[in-house]
Structure formats: structure tokens, C-alpha cells
């Protein structure tokens, strides 16, 4: 069943020295759903992911994966997780294949055929017997993805996974994640700075700033059906549109109305009927980037926060 809660971050907090790096994060991730994790540099994304994977011990709170606490039942909890933390560092002096063999030995029940299968999925079959030293950044990312998928995890955590992938690679990667989320019911948690990428990939986004979760948004509800209308004189056009009863917002060029497509011809008729010169009616989309910058204020890295 899709959409069941699989992972819960409960009151997750981390204090290092006197810095509150993560503050009481509460978040639920569902099966079959891809959640984007956004935040400016230094917001605490990597730290959160380190705590979710047991690399760091939370100062307070817990992470529960499939009913198992990462602190109390570490092995059972982590067995369900595939992860890439920041750059996937591999043993450069070994071949890609030996790297995968190495990690496969750490999971019960991963067989050699599974390694071959994963290698094919990430498209590395022609280079897998070469040393990782000789790989490009994108090839390393692919190998990183391969090691995260080896044991068929129910939960995939990816910290900036598309860093270094070429456009075709990014597209392939996106389609692949969508596919395993839909078909295998995997919950995916992706942190990234590439907002356009997140926009295409995710069902939901969680925004973190200064260690606090400031927003969780559903991507589908994010895209309201809106139209930009440019007509002269602008003042009068605004009055007319408000008169019809549309929610109207000012825009530098004209007005933005929120409505369904079927109301547009009527609106056009009324505008023209009122004697206005109508220049443009076009669908209007706010990009995730605009919204992200609006939410986080953009700009400089927040200073280290005292308790």
C-alpha cells in the first residue's frame, strides 16, 4: 500500500558544543512517496541525514524506521535503508565491482546476480571492472546509487545525489527513482539544491532553515492554476477582474488570477467588453525557486546559533 507512514523523525535534535544544529524536527515519510529536503547551505540537512542513518547520535528525539528505532534497534532499522551521504566515497583502489561485492557482504542475502542487476540498472556494466580511481564524478554517483540499492531497501536516503550527473543521467535517475517509488513502494528522501530538479522529482518538500523545519508542502497543491493577464489601463482591468469575483494579485506586468481554465474565455470577453486593450493571457507558474527564496529569505549563511 502506498502512502503508509514508514519513517518518523520524532523531536529530533542535535547539539554540538553550544550550537543547536537541529531543533526538534518532526517529520513523517510515507511509502511510495518522494520527499525533497531543501534548505540553504548549513541549514542542517546533512546533519539530519547523519542522524537518520546512525552515523551521529541525536542529542534528543529518535528516528523510527519501519517501527524500529535507529538507536535501540540499529541493525533492524538500518537494514531497510539505502543511503548516499554527500559524495559517495568508494574504495578508489578497487574496481567498482569489488566495491559492490564488499558492501553486498555486509547485507544478508544479497547474491552475485543482484550485483549484476544493479550494475545494469545504473548503466555501469561497461566500466564496472575498472578501478574507481579512473571513474568520472558522474560514474561515481552511479556507483553510489548502485551500492544504496543493492539490498532492495524500503527507504532510500540521498544527500545531493545528482551532483555531477549529466542531463541524461539526471533524467534517467529521476525516472528511476519515480519507478522504484511507484513500483516497489520505496520511500525516498532526497536533499538537493537543484530546485528545478526537486520540482520535477518530488511529491512533497520539507524545508529546513537554521535547523528548524519551516515548511512541509505538497507539490501537487503547490501548483495552483493561475493566469497572468496584461490589459490597459491596468487599474481598470483590476477592477473588472475583482468584479467578476476572481482572487486577484498584483504582478509587475499586470494581474494574476487564480481560476480554472474554463473561466478564461468569459473573463476575456468581459475585459474586452469593458473597452480595455487586452495584450496577454497566459498560464502563470511560480517556480519552486521563487517560493524557496521567499520562504528562506535567501542570501547569506546563518551564523552559528547559540543555544
Amino acid at each position: 500500500m502506498a502512502g503508509e507512514p514508514l519513517v518518523q523523525l520524532k523531536n529530533l535534535s542535535k547539539t554540538i558544543g553550544d550550537k543547536n544544529i537541529i531543533k526538534e524536527l518532526d517529520l513523517t515519510l510515507n511509502t511510495g512517496e518522494i520527499t525533497g529536503f531543501l534548505g540553504p547551505n548549513g541549514a542542517g540537512k546533512t546533519t539530519t541525514i547523519r542522524m537518520m542513518t546512525g552515523l551521529m547520535r541525536p542529542s534528543a528525539g529518535d528516528v523510527v524506521i519501519g517501527g524500529k528505532s535507529i538507536q535501540a534497534d540499529y541493525e533492524e532499522a538500518i537494514a531497510q535503508v539505502g543511503v548516499i551521504v554527500e559524495n559517495p566515497e568508494m574504495y578508489k583502489y578497487m574496481t567498482g565491482y569489488k566495491n559492490l561485492l564488499h558492501f553486498s557482504r555486509m547485507h544478508p542475502g544479497v547474491r552475485k546476480e543482484r550485483i549484476d542487476e544493479v550494475v545494469r540498472q545504473v548503466g555501469l556494466q561497461n566500466r564496472i571492472q575498472e578501478k574507481v580511481k579512473s571513474y568520472s564524478l558522474g560514474m561515481r554517483q552511479r556507483l553510489g546509487l548502485a551500492q544504496a540499492l543493492l539490498h532492495n531497501p524500503k527507504f532510500l536516503i540521498l544527500d545531493e545525489p545528482t551532483n555531477g550527473l549529466d542531463p541524461a543521467g539526471i533524467r534517467e535517475f529521476r525516472l528511476y527513482l519515480r519507478k522504484i517509488a511507484a513500483e516497489n513502494n520505496v520511500a525516498v528522501f532526497v536533499s538537493s539544491h537543484l530546485l528545478s530538479e526537486i520540482e520535477l522529482l518530488c511529491d512533497r518538500i520539507a524545508v529546513i532553515q537554521n535547523g528548524e523545519l519551516i515548511d512541509i508542502k505538497d507539490m501537487h497543491s503547490l501548483q495552483k492554476s493561475q493566469y497572468l493577464i496584461v490589459a490597459e489601463p491596468a487599474e481598470q482591468a483590476g477592477e473588472v477582474l475583482k468584479g467578476i469575483g476572481f482572487p486577484v494579485e498584483a504582478h509587475e506586468k499586470g494581474w494574476i488570477i487564480t481560476t480554472e481554465a474554463e473561466h478564461i474565455p468569459g473573463a476575456a470577453k468581459l475585459l474586452v467588453g469593458a473597452g480595455l486593450s487586452l495584450y496577454t493571457i497566459q498560464p502563470y507558474r511560480t517556480t519552486l525557486e521563487d517560493q524557496f527564496l521567499e520562504m528562506t529569505g535567501g542570501g547569506q549563511i546563518a551564523e552559528a546559533r547559540a543555544k
Binding site: T53, V85, M94, H102
Partner: protein
């Protein structure tokens, strides 16, 4: 656990430096024996003298040692044994192995274990630290395997590597000895406390190698601990090698103080009970073993404690 050790073993041998160390070990041992043969040949050492003369000289020296009032009981017993063996050889006409013989090289092979210490320390220092410096630690620790198991597999791999190097040392000494010097005449004799008996030079060699291995084990475990705690292999190698050389010197500085009896390097060379060279004469084998075990446990506890508790930020 077997699979984890297999992993560590695979990583170890995937590094070129490991192969270079093995190669160096074999080369240095063979070259040492080859050069010895060559210098002896050009200087006619050991060819002119007959063995009775050599044994006689040694016997005189050992007898004079028995009169030395500063010697401890252990040392006196040691020289007593040597004297008895020397007298037996002359009386019964039993020659020792010629110095230029394969058997004598095998008997001496334990002295080459300092090289093994050096190489095993390099492996031990890097086996945890390198995971941190390469950033691979986060790949290793996000698996359904607890941290103590991972650390144990690494420690076992290092021990296995050390053991392999020790076997290679003895084997290379035997092979080079056979190749350059050939099998020599002679008989190994031992003093069992009441009489002189014929004994196998193999068992004597193994005993000395075994006793020297304790020192390899201690220094290696120390390097493993430093590498795990500070996550820096160069620091661990540097500190271990420094200690290996400076540590024994400090024994002499501390010799007049009680504390020397609890100092690691007073005890680390267990062959001292069989070679008579004891910087602190009034210690016993039992005390040494106890002190060594205590240090060993402390090293391991510190390693496990830091490795399983600390946050991983690499």
C-alpha cells in the same frame, strides 16, 4: 564476521603498498643472508677457526658471567645453562650449527621480527584511519552490522596480516639460508635445568619467534588504537615507531625507579628471559605477562569505546 574479515582482507591486498611491504620483507631478509655469506667468504670468517675454539671462548665468557654479582636469578640460570651446554659440547664432541647454515638462520629469524612490527604497524594504523580520511567510513557504518563487529573484523585482519608476515619471515630465512648457505652440520642443545638434552632447532626457533611476536602484537595493538582514536594513520605510524625506539631507551632512564616495573617496554621483549639481556633484572615472566595483558586490554578498550561511541562526521 567471516565475511567482514574477508572484506578487510580484500581491501588490504587491493592496495599496492601491502604487496610492496611483503616484497620488501622477503628482499631484505634474503639480501641480509646473501650479504653475510659474501662478507664471510671474502674475509674468511668462520672457515679458519674450528668450532671447539669458538665454543671454548664462549664458555670462558659465560663462566666469568656466573661470577658477576649484579646478575639476577633469571640471568644466572641462563648463564648456567650456557655453561653446561658448552661443557657438554666439548666433552661429548657435539658441535653447534655453523653460523653459515640454514639452521642457524632459522634460529636467528626472530631478530627480523622488528621489520614485521614496522609493516604490521603501518597496516594497523591505516585500517581504521584510512576509512575516515577516504570518507568511506560512512558507507561502512550505514550497514546492518554493529560497529564493534566492524572494528573486530579490522583488528582480526591486522592480526592475520601480522601472522602471515611472521610466517613469511621464517620461510624466507629458511629459503634464503638454504639457497645461500645450505644445510649445515651441528646439533642444537638445550639445558632443561638438570641436564643437557638434544633438542630440535625448529622448536627453539618457534619458541623465540612466538615470544617476539608478543612485542609485534603489543605495538600493533597500540598503533591500531591510535589510528582509531585520532583517525590519522600518519600519527599512529609515527607515534608507534617512535615509541618502539624511544620506549626501550626510557627503560634505562627509569631503571632506578619502582615505576619501571609497570612500564610497557620493560616487559615487551619476552625473549629477554631466554637471552639473558634484561634491562631490569628483578622482574619475572609472570609479572611481565600480567603487565602486558593489562596494557593490551587498555588499548583494546579505548579503541572499542571511541569507535562505537563517537559521531561520524567524515
Amino acid at each position: 564476521m567471516l565475511k567482514l574479515v574477508q572484506n578487510e582482507w580484500m581491501k588490504l591486498w587491493s592496495k599496492r603498498s601491502t604487496w610492496i611491504m611483503v616484497l620488501l620483507l622477503v628482499l631484505i631478509i634474503s639480501a641480509g643472508i646473501g650479504i653475510m655469506k659474501w662478507t664471510h667468504k671474502t674475509q674468511n670468517i668462520g672457515i679458519e677457526e674450528d668450532w671447539e675454539q669458538i665454543v671454548m671462548n664462549e664458555l670462558q665468557f659465560n663462566e666469568s658471567q656466573l661470577l658477576n654479582p649484579e646478575l639476577s636469578e633469571v640471568q644466572l640460570a641462563y648463564y648456567e645453562g650456557l655453561v653446561e651446554i658448552g661443557r657438554y659440547r666439548l666433552a661429548e664432541d657435539v658441535p653447534p650449527f655453523e653460523p653459515d647454515s640454514m639452521q642457524q638462520q632459522i634460529l636467528n629469524s626472530y631478530t627480523m621480527l622488528s621489520l614485521v612490527t614496522l609493516f604490521t604497524v603501518i597496516a594497523a594504523a591505516g585500517i581504521v584511519a584510512a576509512e575516515f580520511s577516504q570518507g568511506t567510513i560512512k558507507m561502512l557504518l550505514t550497514r546492518p552490522v554493529s560497529r564493534w563487529k566492524i572494528l573486530t573484523s579490522k583488528y582480526l585482519a591486522v592480526l592475520l596480516f601480522g601472522l602471515l608476515l611472521i610466517v613469511i619471515t621464517v620461510a624466507a630465512s629458511a629459503a634464503a639460508g638454504f639457497f645461500f648457505l645450505g644445510i649445515g652440520e651441528g646439533q642444537f642443545l638445550a639445558w632443561n635445568g638438570s641436564e643437557v638434552v638434544e633438542a630440535s632447532f625448529w622448536s627453539e626457533s618457534l619458541r623465540m619467534v612466538g615470544l617476539s611476536s608478543v612485542s609485534v602484537l603489543m605495538i600493533t595493538t597500540f598503533a591500531f588504537m591510535i589510528g582509531t582514536v585520532f583517525r590519522s594513520s600518519s600519527l599512529a605510524i609515527g607515534l608507534s615507531i617512535f615509541l618502539l625506539f624511544a620506549g626501550t631507551q626510557v627503560v634505562f632512564l627509569l631503571a632506578d625507579f619502582e615505576i619501571v616495573k609497570y612500564y610497557l617496554f620493560t616487559h615487551i621483549d619476552l625473549t629477554q628471559f631466554y637471552t639473558g639481556f634484561m634491562p631490569v633484572p628483578d622482574i619475572t615472566l609472570a609479572l611481565s605477562v600480567t603487565v602486558l595483558i593489562a596494557y593490551f586490554l587498555v588499548f583494546l578498550i579505548i579503541s572499542y569505546w571511541t569507535f562505537s561511541r563517537r559521531d561520524t562526521t567524515a
